[in-house]
Amino acid sequence: MDLAISGLTVRYGREVVLGNLSLQIADGEFVALVGPNGSGKSTLIRAISGAVPVAAGQIEVSDRSMAAPLDLRRLGAPERARLIAVLAQETKVDFAFSAQEVVGMGRLPYVGRFQRETAADWAIVRQAMDQTCTTHLADRPITALSGGERQRVLFARALAQEPKLLLLDEPTAHLDMAHSVELLSLVRRRNQSEGLTVVAVLHDLNLAAQVADRIVVLHQGEIAADGAPRAVVTPDLIARVWGTAVQVVDHPVSGLPQVLLLGSLVGSGV
């Protein structure tokens, strides 16, 4: 599904978090949103998902199956949830739903009131769990899962929504290296095998360069750079946006750019 954002402005009170931002994302792309803290990347995700009010601008999606582009802001929550799924930072859950019940919640936009999920719904749930390697967790309470397992279950829930656009908001923020790589490679697989469009806020520039086709750098609510990882991840840009000195080298295996920290930590004898 294509996503077209034009003139997007979001304010929190008087503070402008996103100012007149325009961005086109094509069907099947895997786009990483990066930027320093407070650059507006999470806000952009939340504006697309409808979680924050938009002050001005347009957010439209279009697809071969649609006659005309759809204005996301005009859609009700259920219609939007059939197009867009969101996987956010790990959230704490106090209530002991089983993993399968949690994934089943992804069918909510499709199941009517006073109705139960049909066999077809559960088949979609099982497939989503299969694709995220969570089938063996089905009967475990979500409260008893590890952080990595829980994020995979929540990813399965997002897939059960059968979305055409997947938004990720720092999904690996609380995961260790192994689990981060595992989760992002699962996302990448759905992107490559089914053409699922992915827009992901990622904190880790190295991870972003490894996994995304395209990196959009946000800085003070505006786009500072946009392009393939090799074009975007440069010492100049990082010095300008993040304000820290780095060296960029090629990954010895993938050949993709990787950032090495310099600055006062290096050579200071610590």
């Binding site: 979680a51 259920p78 909510l108």
Partner: protein, 348 residues
């Protein structure tokens, strides 16, 4: 296993109703209770004492049925608030809704005064006269929960401390307003308010039961309508929005339903705490957190609990009668303390 547990609960409720209807200062054996109840529809020849029939149909039956309906109302209100606040400590009593309802009901009695009530009785009979009190109690409860919710809300979440403190503060404010009302009303009205506030199921009647039912039915209907959304809201409001829940609309309706259910119970039975706290927990343990199952199961469990608590209230110091709220507090207080201790460990 879960389905059989539900049927077991329904059986338990029927058993509790029959036992509670039979026990009291005048004992009617369970077999006789069943025969009297089935006597009229099935045309059984009466082999029981006519006094027993009168006691059962005029006094005991409306009382146990009211206990059952009020108990299920409070339990469902507890389920609704715990779901909405995403907090297992929420219940109509703890978050001050009960106190708000009490204020509303007292205000109704004070504002309308006794002559107006007497006129209502004269014109429309007892059925009409009991109407304004639950209506005002409902408004009082709704206003209270809205204020507590605003107070407890921080950013996108509802804080546990804010909820308990806000509920306590607004609750005691409501209670002090009731005292103020009592201070300024004439002595006969004051007595009427105090009598109403003491609550208990002693004044149960078919007329009150008829008034109670629609409140509870509407509350239950609203909650069942939003049951699946209540499941999702437990994952957080933003997540619920992403999964297609119309969050703001849902919150308004669930707050309304909770206030309806609480007010109906408070208006007819006085402030009864802890049913809304104990029952949802026990039921989650039985059938899990899915509200589509949890709501009906909690309704049945709440009914059983309050019927038994009322039976205890009647029997413990017989022929003296304890307020049922007191019995519930004796049962629920320790449970609440246990819950606080297990929920408020540093890791949580």
């Amino acid at each position: 296993m879960r389905r059989s547990a539900v049927w077991l609960l329904v059986l338990l409720l029927v058993f509790a109703l029959v036992m509670a209807a039979g026990l009291g200062t005048v004992k009617i054996p369970p077999g006789e209770v069943v025969r009297i109840l089935l006597g009229r529809p099935f045309g059984l020849a009466p082999d029981w004492l006519p006094q027993h029939e009168a006691i059962l149909l005029q006094i005991r039956l409306p009382r146990v049925l009211m206990a059952a309906v009020a108990g299920s109302a409070l339990a469902m209100a507890g389920v609704a608030y715990q779901g909405l606040f995403r907090n297992p400590l929420a219940d109509p009593y703890v978050i001050g809704v009960s106190a708000g309802s009490a204020l509303g009901g007292s205000a109704a009695i004070a504002l309308l005064g006794l002559p107006a009530m007497a006129a209502l009785v004269a014109r429309g009979g007892a059925l009409i006269a009991v109407g304004p009190v639950p209506l005002f109690a409902f408004v009082g409860g709704l206003v209270t929960v809205a204020i507590v919710y605003r107070l407890a809300r921080i950013g996108t979440g509802v804080s546990l401390v804010g909820l308990l403190l806000g509920g306590g503060a607004i609750g005691s404010l409501a209670v002090s307003f009731v005292s103020l009302l009592l201070f300024f009303t004439a002595s006969d009205v004051r007595e009427a308010i105090l009598f109403w506030m003491m609550g208990g199921l002693g004044g149960a009647s078919w007329a009150k039961l008829l008034w109670l039912l629609p409140y509870v039915a509407v509350g239950l209907g609203i909650l069942l309508y939003w049951a699946r959304d209540l499941n999702v809201i437990l994952m957080g409001e933003e997540t619920a929005h992403h999964l297609g829940v119309e969050v703001e609309r849902m919150k308004r309706w669930v707050l309304l339903a909770g206030a309806l259910l609480t007010a109906s119970a408070v208006a007819f039975c006085g402030s009864i705490g802890f049913v809304g706290l104990v029952v949802p927990h026990a039921c989650r343990f039985l059938v899990g957190p899915d509200h589509r199952r949890l709501l009906p199961v909690a309704a049945v469990c709440g009914a059983v609990l309050l019927v038994l608590a009322d039976l205890g209230a009647r029997l413990l110091l017989s022929p003296q009668e304890l307020p049922v709220g007191l019995v519930m507090a004796l049962l629920g207080g320790p449970f609440f303390i246990w819950l606080l201790r297990t929920r408020l460990r540093p890791t949580v």
